[in-house]
C-alpha cells in the first residue's frame, strides 16, 4: 500500500454506469494489505462487478469476520454500511441482517481460516439455510493476519515457507459447499479478473446462498515455491471448466449467441448467466458428478475454476421465512403491535 491519499476530485469525463455513478463511487478506503496481496485484486473485482451491475452502494451491506481478507470490505464501496464482526461468525450476522431487511444486497467476505476453521459450523449452516447473500472466501491456504500458520484448506502437498510439512488433508471449500447443498458454487482466482468479475456479478444476482471460493495468494506467507496457493502454482494448474458471462436484464435483448456453445441459466430478476463449458466432461447441474470431477482433478494437482454448480430452483431463506414484502426493519407499531382485542383474548385465555 502507499500512504498517499487519492485526490477526492473526480474527472468529469469518467465513464458512468446505468445509475450514473463512476467506478470511483464504488471504491473504498485505501488498502492496508501487503503490496501485491491477492485480496486487493478481489476487492477490485468486487468494485468492478458492482459498477457494472449498477448496484446502489448504499443498498448493499458488506460483512466480514476477522483476518486480512475480512479487512477488505473497508477497501471497497465506502458508501455501503460495513460490519467487521468477530472471527468466524460473519455468517450468523449476515443471516440476521438479511432477515431484518430483504431490501438490501449482502456481500460477505471471509478467509479460509475464518470460514474453514473457527467458522466452519456457521458457514455450513448458512449454506443449509440458503441465506440470501454472496459469500466470498479469499482463500490463501494460510492464516495471513496471524503470520502464516497452515490453514485447513492448505493442500497436503503444500509445504510451508520454511519447508514445514503439512500433515492434514485439505477441506475443499467448494466440494464441501456442494455436498451441503449450496445452490451457487464457483471458484475464482484473484489473478484472473476476467473470470472473477462475471462470477461476482452472477453470484450477486443469484437469489440464495452464492459461494465464490477465490484462490487469493498471500504474497507474504504463502507464495513460495512448494505452496499450492501461490500465484505461479495456480496460474500453471488452473483448470477453468466453465466460462461465465453475466448478462444483465437490460442487455438481454441484444444478446446473440450460438445455442450449441452456451447454456443460459436464468436468474430471478431477469438476468442470465451464460455458461460456456471449457471441459465437456463437466456437468455443473449434477452435484455428485461435480464432486467427483473436483476430487479427481484435485488429486491431479489441478485447481478447477469457474462456476462449478448452480441450482436456481431452490427455496432461499427469505422464501422459507415467508416474509412480508416490506422489510421487517420498516414495520411500525401499526404492523407489529397486536390489537387490544387480541391482548384481551390472551388475558381471557389465561383465566382458564
Amino acid at each position: 500500500m502507499s500512504y498517499i491519499r487519492k485526490p477526492a476530485f473526480q474527472h468529469p469525463n469518467l465513464p458512468k454506469n446505468e445509475i450514473g455513478l463512476t467506478r470511483r463511487d464504488y471504491e473504498g478506503a485505501m488498502s492496508t494489505l501487503c503490496a501485491g496481496c491477492g485480496h486487493d485484486s478481489v476487492s477490485a473485482a468486487i468494485i468492478e462487478a458492482c459498477y457494472a451491475l449498477g448496484v446502489e452502494p448504499h443498498r448493499l451491506a458488506k460483512l466480514s469476520g476477522i483476518g486480512c481478507s475480512s479487512k477488505t470490505p473497508t477497501y471497497f464501496l465506502s458508501k455501503s454500511h460495513g460490519f467487521n464482526s468477530v472471527h468466524g461468525r460473519m455468517p450468523s450476522i449476515a443471516t440476521g441482517a438479511s432477515m431484518a431487511n430483504t431490501g438490501l444486497k449482502y456481500i460477505g467476505v471471509s478467509g479460509d481460516g475464518d470460514s474453514a476453521s473457527i467458522g466452519l459450523g456457521q458457514f455450513a449452516h448458512a449454506i443449509r439455510r440458503q441465506v440470501n447473500m454472496l459469500y466470498i472466501i479469499e482463500n490463501n491456504g494460510t492464516y495471513g493476519l496471524t503470520k502464516g500458520q497452515f490453514s485447513a484448506t492448505n493442500d497436503r502437498a503444500s509445504v510451508g515457507r520454511k519447508g514445514q510439512k503439512n500433515q492434514f488433508d485439505p477441506i475443499d471449500i467448494c466440494s464441501l459447499a456442494i455436498q451441503l447443498g449450496a445452490s451457487f458454487v464457483a471458484r475464482g482466482f484473484s489473478g484472473d479478473k476476467a473470470q472473477l468479475v462475471p462470477l461476482i456479478e452472477s453470484g450477486m444476482a443469484h437469489e440464495g446462498f452464492a459461494l465464490i471460493d477465490v484462490v487469493s495468494p498471500c504474497v507474504t506467507f504463502n507464495n513460495h515455491l512448494g505452496s499450492t496457493k501461490s500465484f505461479d502454482f495456480v496460474r500453471e494448474h488452473n483448470n477453468a471448466v466453465m466460462a461465465t458471462d453475466f448478462v444483465p436484464a437490460r442487455e438481454q435483448i441484444h444478446a446473440e449467441y450460438d445455442k450449441g456453445e452456451a447454456v443460459d441459466v436464468q436468474l430471478h430478476d431477469d438476468c442470465t448467466i451464460r455458461l460456456r463449458k471449457l471441459d465437456d466432461d463437466y456437468d455443473p447441474t449434477d452435484r455428485a458428478s461435480a464432486l467427483k470431477y473436483l476430487a479427481d482433478h484435485h488429486d491431479r494437482g489441478e485447481v478447477v475454476t469457474g462456476l462449478l454448480h448452480v441450482d436456481t430452483g431452490i427455496e432461499n431463506l427469505r422464501d422459507k421465512a415467508q416474509l412480508v414484502d416490506q422489510p421487517l426493519n420498516e414495520l411500525v407499531e401499526r404492523d407489529l403491535v397486536p390489537s387490544q382485542a387480541l391482548l384481551d383474548e390472551v388475558n381471557q385465555r389465561r383465566r382458564w
Binding site: 473497508t74 455501503s80 450476522i93 449476515a94 431484518a100 456457521q122 414484502d325 391482548l343 388475558n347
Partner: protein, 609 residues
C-alpha cells in the same frame, strides 16, 4: 393423632413419574383452585430426562397470597412407589398422604393421615384402552381431591371443558375419571378433610401464566421481528411461545405472510450473532438462552457492547455451574452477565420478578436497548420462566410508540454536515446511529469490534481508545437513569435494617416480612430492578446500618455488583444465600435474618454466611 385444619392455606405436592401423563392432571388441579378464586402457586420439580424418573408438582394454595415456596407438605399425593418413603417423610406432622392403594405400601409414620384410593384398580375397571387406564389414574386423583378438599365439582367441570377446548370428545372420559375418584372418596371417607378449598375472590381478574410466555408476548408488543434461538432448558419456551403468538398475531391475514422471522440457530453463538445482525440492520431482534448459552455468547456480547449494537437477550437462569442442575432454579449468572466478555465490558440487566413484569420489562427492553445502543439482558429464572404464576392481567397503551433512540434518517442526515457514528453530541455517552441503506451519500459507517475514532474509522491511537472507553462509562451512567429504579416496600425509612432482593425472591418476601414482624423485627425493603443501579440503590444502603442481601446463588453476586459499582462498605452488607436449586422460602429468609438480628434465634436450611 391431630389432623391439620386449614382453609385455602396449604401446600399440596404430587409425586409422579415423568412422562406418565400426570402433568396435565396436576395443572388441572391448580387451575381448579385458581378458578375458585384462590391464589395458587404451582411449581414443577422435574428431572433432566424425558420419561421414567421421579417428578414432583407442588402447589402452594394461599388466599392470603403467600405464594412463595414453603417447606413441608400438608397433603402429599404419592403416586410414585420409587419415592414413596421419601415423599412420606416430607409430610408435616398431622398432614395427609393420599396414595394408590391398589398396591400395598409400607407406611412407617403414625403422625400422618393416610388415605388410600385404589386408583389403578378403579381405572382398570372403568376403562378399556391401556393408555387411558394409565392416564386417567391421574385425573381420578384430582376427582378424589375434589371430594377431600371440598372443591365445587362445577368448577372442576368448567376447567375440564376449558382445558379440552377444541378436543371436546376428551371431556366425557375425563369427567368420568374425575367422578371415579370423587365417588370413591365420598363413599369411603369422611369428606372433606381438615384441608379445604373454599370459593373466594382473592384472585380478582388476575391471570395465570408462566414467565416465558409473558416475556414472549412482551416481545410481540415490543415490536421484535427477528428471533434467533437454540433450544435449552429452561429458556426454550420463550422462543416457542413467541412463535405461537406470532402465528396468531403477526401473520398477514390476506397473504399469509409473516411479519416476523424466527430462526432456530445451530448453536448459541449463531443465535446471538443473528440477533446482533438483525439489530444492526434496524430490526428489533432478540435471543433467549440459559447458563451454558450465556457462556457461549460471551464473545459476541463483548462485540455488541463495544460496537454499541442494541440487543435483547433473555437469560432464564438455571442451576449452575457448568451443566449443573438444568431443571432447577438459581440467580447465579449475575456476574457472568454483568461483566460478560473480556476487556473492560459492562452489560445492562433487568430483573423481572413475576410474569406481568416479564411482559412489561421485555417490551421495555427493546426501547432500552435501542435508546442505550447496547445489549439488555433480562434475567429471569427457571422458577419464573417455566411455572405458572397468578399475576395481574397484561395491559398495553395502544398509543405507545416504540422508542428507537437516536437514529438518523435520510432527512436528518441531509441536515448535518458530517456524520460521526461515535461522536458524543449530547454528552450522555449515547451517539447517533443510522440503519444500513438510509442515504445514498451520508450515514454509512463501518461497524467493528476494534478500536475506532468518532467516525468509526479504525485507530490504534491510545488516547482515542481511552476516551472512547470513558464515553462508554458515561453511557453506562446514563443507563442508570433510564433503566427502572428500585422498588421500595415503604414510603420512608422506618428501620435501621434494610433488605435487598430481586427477581423471584420477591414472591417470598411478604410472608417473610410477616414472620419477621411477628418477632418484632421491622425492616425496610428494596427490590432491585435493573443494573446499572439507580442512585437510590446506594442511598438505601448508606441510609441503613445493616443491609441483608438475599440472593439465590453461592457467591453473593449482586452484593459484589453493589460493592463494586457503588463503592459500598462490605461490613454492613450481609449475605443471605440460597443455592440448592429450589426457590428460596419465606422461612429461610426470616429465620436467617432473625438469627442475625437477634443472635440466638433459630437459623435454618442452607446457611447464611
Amino acid at each position: 393423632m391431630a389432623a391439620l385444619n386449614a382453609i385455602n392455606e396449604f401446600v399440596i405436592r404430587f409425586a409422579n413419574v415423568n412422562g406418565s401423563g400426570s402433568a396435565s392432571a396436576n395443572v388441572m388441579f391448580a387451575k381448579i383452585v385458581y378458578r375458585m378464586g384462590v391464589p395458587v402457586a404451582p411449581k414443577n420439580i422435574f428431572p433432566s430426562n424425558i420419561q421414567g424418573l421421579p417428578t414432583w408438582f407442588e402447589a402452594r394454595v394461599s388466599a392470603k397470597g403467600h405464594l412463595g415456596r414453603r417447606e413441608g407438605v400438608d397433603l402429599m399425593v404419592a403416586m410414585n412407589p420409587q419415592t414413596f418413603a421419601e415423599d412420606l417423610a416430607d409430610v408435616v406432622p398431622g398432614g395427609y398422604l393420599l396414595y394408590d392403594s391398589t398396591f400395598e405400601q409400607r407406611i412407617s409414620r403414625t403422625d400422618v393421615n393416610v388415605i388410600g384410593v385404589p386408583l389403578t384398580r378403579l381405572c382398570l375397571e372403568a376403562f378399556e384402552d391401556p393408555r387411558q387406564r394409565q392416564l386417567f389414574k391421574n385425573v381420578a386423583y384430582v376427582g378424589a381431591l375434589a371430594a377431600f378438599l371440598d372443591i365445587d365439582f362445577e368448577a372442576v367441570k368448567e376447567v375440564v371443558s376449558l382445558q379440552f377446548r377444541g378436543k371436546e370428545k376428551l371431556v366425557g372420559p375425563n369427567i368420568q375419571a374425575l367422578e371415579l375418584g370423587r365417588d370413591y372418596a365420598l363413599r369411603h371417607y369422611d369428606c372433606p378433610l381438615g384441608l379445604r378449598v373454599e370459593k373466594c375472590d382473592a384472585v380478582g381478574d388476575k391471570i395465570m401464566i408462566d414467565g416465558n410466555s409473558a416475556a414472549a408476548l412482551g416481545c410481540v408488543f415490543g415490536g421484535a421481528t427477528v428471533a434467533a434461538w437454540y433450544p435449552i432448558t429452561p429458556s426454550t419456551s420463550v422462543a416457542e411461545a413467541f412463535e405461537r403468538y406470532c402465528e396468531r398475531m403477526r401473520v398477514d391475514e390476506k397473504t399469509g405472510e409473516h411479519k416476523y422471522a424466527i430462526i432456530q440457530a445451530e448453536d448459541e453463538l449463531a443465535a446471538i450473532g443473528m440477533a446482533i445482525g438483525a439489530n444492526w440492520n434496524g430490526a428489533r431482534g432478540f435471543t433467549a438462552t440459559s447458563g451454558p448459552g450465556i457462556s457461549l455468547m460471551t464473545e459476541f456480547l463483548g462485540l455488541a457492547y463495544f460496537a454499541e449494537i442494541p440487543l435483547v437477550l433473555f437469560n432464564v437462569q438455571r442451576g449452575g455451574p457448568s451443566t449443573g442442575m438444568p431443571t432447577r432454579t438459581q440467580q447465579s449468572d449475575i456476574t457472568a452477565c454483568a461483566y460478560a466478555s473480556h476487556g473492560d465490558t459492562k452489560q445492562m440487566l433487568l430483573f423481572p420478578s413475576e410474569p406481568n413484569e416479564c411482559f412489561n420489562m421485555s417490551a421495555d427492553a427493546f426501547d432500552y436497548a435501542d435508546r442505550l445502543q447496547t445489549p439488555i439482558i433480562v434475567m429471569s429464572d427457571l422458577d419464573l420462566g417455566m411455572n405458572d404464576w397468578v399475576c395481574d392481567p397484561f395491559e398495553w397503551d395502544q398509543e405507545r410508540r416504540f422508542d428507537r433512540g437516536k437514529v438518523l434518517d435520510a432527512e436528518a442526515l441531509d441536515k448535518i454536515e458530517k456524520f460521526g457514528r461515535y461522536r458524543d453530541v449530547d454528552g450522555d455517552g449515547i451517539c447517533y446511529r443510522t440503519y444500513p441503506g438510509t442515504h445514498p451519500e451520508k450515514g454509512a459507517f463501518f461497524t467493528r469490534g476494534t478500536s475506532r475514532d468518532n467516525y468509526a474509522v479504525y485507530t490504534e491511537d491510545g488516547d482515542v481508545h481511552a476516551e472512547n472507553l470513558r464515553r462508554l462509562n458515561r453511557k453506562f451512567d446514563t443507563g442508570a437513569k433510564i433503566l427502572p429504579g428500585p422498588e421500595f416496600g415503604q414510603e420512608s425509612q422506618r428501620s435501621t435494617i434494610g433488605i435487598i432482593y430481586f427477581g423471584t425472591t420477591a414472591t417470598a418476601m411478604p410472608e417473610a416480612l410477616e414472620q419477621l414482624e411477628d418477632q418484632d423485627i421491622i425492616v425496610d425493603t428494596m427490590r432491585i430492578r435493573a443494573f446499572p443501579f439507580a442512585l437510590e440503590v446506594a442511598e438505601f444502603v448508606r441510609a441503613h446500618e445493616t443491609v441483608y442481601i438475599i440472593e439465590q446463588n453461592r457467591d453473593a453476586q449482586m452484593r459484589m455488583l453493589l460493592m463494586n459499582e457503588c463503592d459500598l462498605a462490605p461490613d454492613k452488607m450481609k449475605k443471605i444465600l440460597n443455592y440448592d436449586g429450589m426457590p428460596v422460602t419465606a422461612r429461610f429468609i426470616a429465620e436467617n435474618i432473625a438469627a442475625a438480628v437477634k443472635p440466638g434465634a433459630r437459623q435454618g436450611g442452607v446457611a447464611a454466611e
